[in-house]
Symmetry: C2
Subunit: 316 residues, 2 copies
């Protein structure tokens, strides 16, 4: 069985640990199509936070206490950069993490696309999943505010999403095309899962790449999403600030309606909400999306595996 997962970074990584936990013993193939909207150039190196978060988590080298980056990280290089006055004081490059950025930059400068660079980088570990960036083009999410636009990373990391967002721009998306392998993976999938990642800045930029939304619409496989909202609140991050900016209420049902029913030209065949949100099922079903309520707290890969199993059942 071939399982394709649309995914952002940290939340997506946690979800993918559950997908692997559930699917690997059965010999299923897992392909993650990963958001690149958070990517950026910084001090001459290409940073791809979502790809790296997933890689580190699946490799088991992520910092589980801090919730991001590499375990055992240090900041020697970053300290030097600060001493030179280069870059942003609010953005820290860990030394181990920087090794990944430099490897990626090396491959990009050699002429490989981001997908090729990702293939080389992920070959270091047996991840149990294939990671493909949504696109090899540079598509970066910018946040529109009353005072102008800024890169998503600056809004998110520096300002902790505290500046009211008026909207989001996926810069470069219109001219971008899906990375090699993305459309094939979607077309040949047996199940397509939408990770409980930020709908606006993680899944949104993937769907903004021309051709991907169409491929999902035409896919033989069912598309099942998992709500990133539990009991009217985001599980992690500041997705509520993003949803509010695009006029979507912070609720499991509203996000499903935002994605839309595939039967009506949208994304979803089915949608999982948390057991605590069972009251929202009817509203989702009314929109033509099959809905199930199951526990959605991803407290461990084993628990998350049960959630993935429920998603695959809902896919049938």
């Amino acid at each position: 069985m071939k399982i394709v997962v649309l995914s952002g970074g940290v939340g997506g990584a946690r979800f993918l640990l559950g997908v692997r936990e559930h699917a690997s013993p059965a010999g299923h193939e897992i392909t993650a199509v990963v958001n690149v909207g958070d990517d950026m150039w910084h001090a001459g190196v290409r940073i791809a936070p979502d790809l790296d978060s997933i890689t580190y988590a699946l490799a088991g080298v992520n910092d589980t206490e801090r919730g991001w980056g590499r375990a055992g990280e240090s900041e020697r290089v970053s300290g030097e950069l600060r001493a030179y006055g280069v870059g942003w004081p609010w953005f820290t490059l860990g030394d181990l993490d920087l090794g990944t950025h430099l490897a990626r930059t090396h491959y990009l400068r050699e002429g490989l696309g981001l997908s090729g660079a990702t293939e080389r980088i992920t070959a270091r570990w047996p991840l149990g999943a294939t990671l493909i960036p949504s696109t090899d083009s540079e598509v970066e999410t910018h946040v529109v505010t009353a005072d102008g636009t800024l890169h998503f990373q600056e809004w998110w990391t520096r300002h902790r999403a505290a500046i009211p967002a008026l909207g989001f721009e996926y810069r470069g998306a219109e001219e971008a095309s899906p990375a090699p392998g993305v459309l094939d993976a979607i077309a040949s999938a047996d199940a397509i899962l939408v990770a409980p990642s930020n709908p606006v800045v993680s899944i949104g930029p993937i769907l903004a790449i021309p051709g991907i939304r169409e491929a999902l619409r035409d896919a033989a496989a069912p598309v099942v999403g998992v709500s990133p909202i539990i009991a009217g609140a985001v599980v992690r991050g500041m997705a509520d600030a993003c949803l509010t900016a695009i006029g979507v209420e912070t609720s499991a049902a509203a996000v499903a309606l935002h994605y839309g029913s595939r039967s009506a030209g949208g994304l979803l065949d089915a949608w999982l909400v948390d057991s605590s949100d069972a009251a929202e099922l009817a509203r989702v079903e009314a929109a033509g999306i099959r809905a199930r309520a199951v526990p959605l707290w991803m407290t461990s890969p084993e628990v998350t595996a049960d959630m993935v199993a429920a998603a695959l059942v809902a896919a049938r």
Copy 2:
């Protein structure tokens, strides 16, 4: 008084410590025109070994035991790069050193030339000297061997200069021009010193930049060189392998003749040899170059300052 020094890396740095020791108390201005032939792109960052060696030495943050790089260095990032199979196992990037490369790469990507990037980087410390790369262009030294050519760094660091060199190419030199400030510094200098750096791969690539040799010939200031050869042997490094490749014997006099007398269209008005090489003075003088024998072992900035004082006396 304005003193201009043509300089390579480690040996040049040691010489510049002496120049500063001698000249700074008297309020003299020091400008180092620095070789870029060892520079290269590696893992997407621009490395400039000679500029950095001088910067670290003048800043007092160099590793005096190892003789190169930063004191208190670590190799966390380099370990990651090796794990990814990126780059050359024989070439180590220190973490602190990498901070400098990233700062430089950042400025280059922002559109600054190498000279502008160097100005920003060196502003971090009170160096007591202005560092200018010979050129903002990418001029890299390649070594011609029987099996083809390779970058100077690979020949020098990986092969320890053990592969017989048939010659040297300063790739890109023909289309290069002196960095902003180089010609002005030479034209307005009161004394021009040639550091006891490798004549072939440190001073040679500086002289290969069109316009620099002419400026030195036209300069009002005398040009005084210091022999990198003492008692028929190189003081450090493997300059003998380089000299042999271009048919120059490893002796203090032969290097002076290689540079040539300014009165005959060459580089030098005067030349310092070590006291142990006093027998070579006549041969140098016969070529129209004033020659003096003084102690040339740069055992400390104070000792080197005496050598610089002697060079300035020889300049009169």
